[in-house]
């Protein structure tokens, strides 16, 4: 009843260095993707003869790979492939999933039942197997892999956005909006969508990280972009052959993936959506 019951921590504005760091990491990687030549002068595909498998040095901060290509250049240029793929995947999942979820939550009845059974079905197949099935349908390639990863995410977006729409619809303020004479479309637009989409946005950030993970997995297994495209998963797969001699070839792209996914997750939590 009195002060003891209040969570005091919530009231204090907290300094959140982690969030800023996460934003900085993503900003840097985005810059890699947009203008890679600003960050490295070397080519990601042309090898330097006689400079194979060099350890990290000033000239090659991350060393060179088995064909004498600069590893830093390959990681930097790889950002484009990975981020573009993740964007496509999140866009597919967000648009299809949220569309379906909002439709189901707002219309209810048989529409809701049908959409939710579809979601159940998508969720019943393990994510990796579902994306592999879609890849068999679409064929190999980076955009196709991205679409496959996006379709896997449809179920989660649909489920969350439907739940959010239902939560907001059941709220007093939506009833009050109808009670003050609001029409269905106006209430949906003014109250239901703005209040339900915050956590969908947070999920999008989380899914961005998951998509990068899933895409690198598909790339590693060889279903994504074909060599010599620098893609992070593919880089790890290639570096694996030289594991005993040049461990940095696998370590560096992997660490970049970890950092990017961690940052996306941190930002997703910062937006204030559901905890993963």
């Amino acid at each position: 009843m009195s002060g003891a019951a209040l969570p005091l921590r919530a009231g204090l504005p907290r300094l959140r260095p982690g969030l800023w760091l996460a934003c900085a990491v993503l900003a840097l990687v985005f810059a890699w993707a947009v203008a890679p030549s600003l960050f490295t002068a070397r080519s990601p595909v042309e090898g330097i003869p006689g400079a194979q498998l060099l350890p990290p040095s000033w000239a090659h901060p991350l060393g060179t790979d088995g064909l004498g290509r600069d590893q830093l250049a390959r990681v930097v240029y790889g950002a484009r492939e990975s981020l573009a793929g993740a964007f496509v995947a999140v866009a597919v999942g967000l648009l299809l999933g949220t569309g379906l979820g909002v439709l189901a939550g707002a219309r209810g009845g048989w529409v809701d039942a049908a959409v939710m059974r579809l979601v159940d079905t998508l969720l019943a197949i393990p994510a990796l197997l579902l994306s592999l099935s879609i890849i068999i349908l679409l064929g190999f390639g980076s955009i196709k892999a991205a679409v496959a990863v996006g379709i896997v995410a449809v179920a989660q977006f649909a489920r969350l956005s439907r739940a959010e729409v239902l939560r907001v619809r059941a709220s007093d303020y939506v009833e009050a909006a109808f009670g003050s004479g609001g029409r269905f479309a106006a209430v949906l637009w003014r109250h239901v969508l703005p209040n339900s989409l915050t956590s969908v946005l947070a999920l999008a950030a989380l899914q961005f990280g998951s998509a990068i993970l899933a895409l690198s997995t598909l790339g590693f297994l060889g279903y994504g972009a074909p060599p010599p495209t620098p893609e992070w998963g593919l880089l790890i797969a290639e570096g694996r052959d030289f594991l005993a001699r040049a461990w940095w070839l696998t370590a560096s792209p992997g660490l970049v993936v970890v950092l990017v996914v961690l940052s996306a997750e941190r930002i997703g939590r910062g937006i204030g959506g559901p905890s993963p």
């Binding site: 079905t121 994510a127 961690l262 905890s275």
Partner: protein
């Protein structure tokens, strides 16, 4: 009352299963030109030979007949024939499933232990800085690509430390790193949910009442927190199973192990749709069964649901 609920729930599960089968059929068998064609064109067969093979595989029949034929096969345990290996898919599954199940089971056990350890340290550990540090570990675990983790573990334990031989490994050596590789990412969501649940239960008024009775911290954990915090993790079983399977597929690829993962990879590489379809449907069936079991088991473990229904 109970019987009706049971029937309803089982009916729902069957519906999802049928829908999953249909989806897999549509994705793999119905939509893409056809796999037989792709595969055998590469082998340079004549159109006559192709037609013969298509007839043998039933790929010429109208879609609905293929659908019924495949469905009938699945219901009787006949998952079709692998195009590549030329043997029944059921046989391939039987050969590969045990190894993957063993790997997944060990990984699940390891992940559970790791999650309990993390949750314990994060909620009950001594220093607050330690608790804060441990709380950020699951996020890190989630962010690590499974295949990369596997490679890094090999690098560390086999090449750098030389603890685990890769030339002629003992059985335990062969499994230790794959199990760890799968367990780490699986433990993360479990640990996160456990931490959240324990935090929530500790903030419940009934915990304050227990303390007001004079209960010690250990007593509160044993009698009030444990069950209330563990029970909801049951609902994650289905999702975790899917992740275990996905993790196993990738991990088997990294460590060159035989199992469902290797089978899946070959199936995708060779467009061997019958094999992939069987793997998809079987794993979806396992997912549905696990969720069904959890749903039916939950009321037995949670008196609120059990008695509530009886009273109603």
């Amino acid at each position: 009352m109970m019987a009706r609920h049971l029937a309803q729930r089982v009916g729902q599960a069957l519906l999802v299963l049928a829908a999953t089968f249909t989806l897999a059929f549509l994705l793999l068998q119905a939509l893409p030109g056809d796999a037989v064609l792709i595969k055998f064109l590469e082998l340079g067969l004549t159109p006559d030979q192709l037609a013969e093979i298509r007839l043998a595989y039933g790929a010429d029949a109208p879609l609905w007949r293929q659908y019924l034929h495949t469905a009938g096969g699945f219901l009787t345990g006949n998952f079709g024939t692998s195009i590549r290996a030329g043997v029944p898919v059921a046989q391939l599954l039987a050969e590969n499933l045990p190894a993957t199940l063993l790997l997944a089971a060990l990984a699940f056990a390891a992940a559970s232990l790791l999650a309990l350890l993390l949750a314990g340290l994060a909620t009950l550990g001594g220093q607050s800085w330690l608790r804060g540090l441990v709380r950020s570990v699951p996020s890190l675990f989630v962010a690590v690509p499974v295949f990369w983790l596997g490679i890094m573990l090999i690098q560390l334990f086999s090449f750098q430390l030389g603890w685990i031989s890769i030339i002629s490994p003992e059985p335990w050596e062969e499994l230790a790193l794959p199990v760890a590789t799968i367990a780490v990412p699986i433990s993360a969501p479990l640990a996160q949910v456990l931490i959240r649940n324990i935090d929530a239960v500790l903030a419940e008024p009934f915990v304050a009442v227990a303390r007001a009775k004079g209960a010690s911290h250990a007593w509160v954990l044993r009698w009030h927190v444990a069950r209330n915090a563990l029970l909801p993790t049951l609902t994650m079983a289905g999702v975790l199973f899917g992740e275990l399977l996905g993790g196993a597929v990738v991990t088997e690829a990294v460590f060159g192990l035989n199992g469902l993962g290797g089978l899946t990879q070959q199936a995708v590489a060779n467009q061997d749709v019958a094999v992939l379809q069987a793997i998809v449907v079987v794993s979806a069936a396992a997912f549905v069964l696990i969720n069904l079991a959890v749903d039916l088991l939950y009321p037995v473990l949670d008196p609120r649901l059990a008695r509530g229904r009886r009273a109603a």
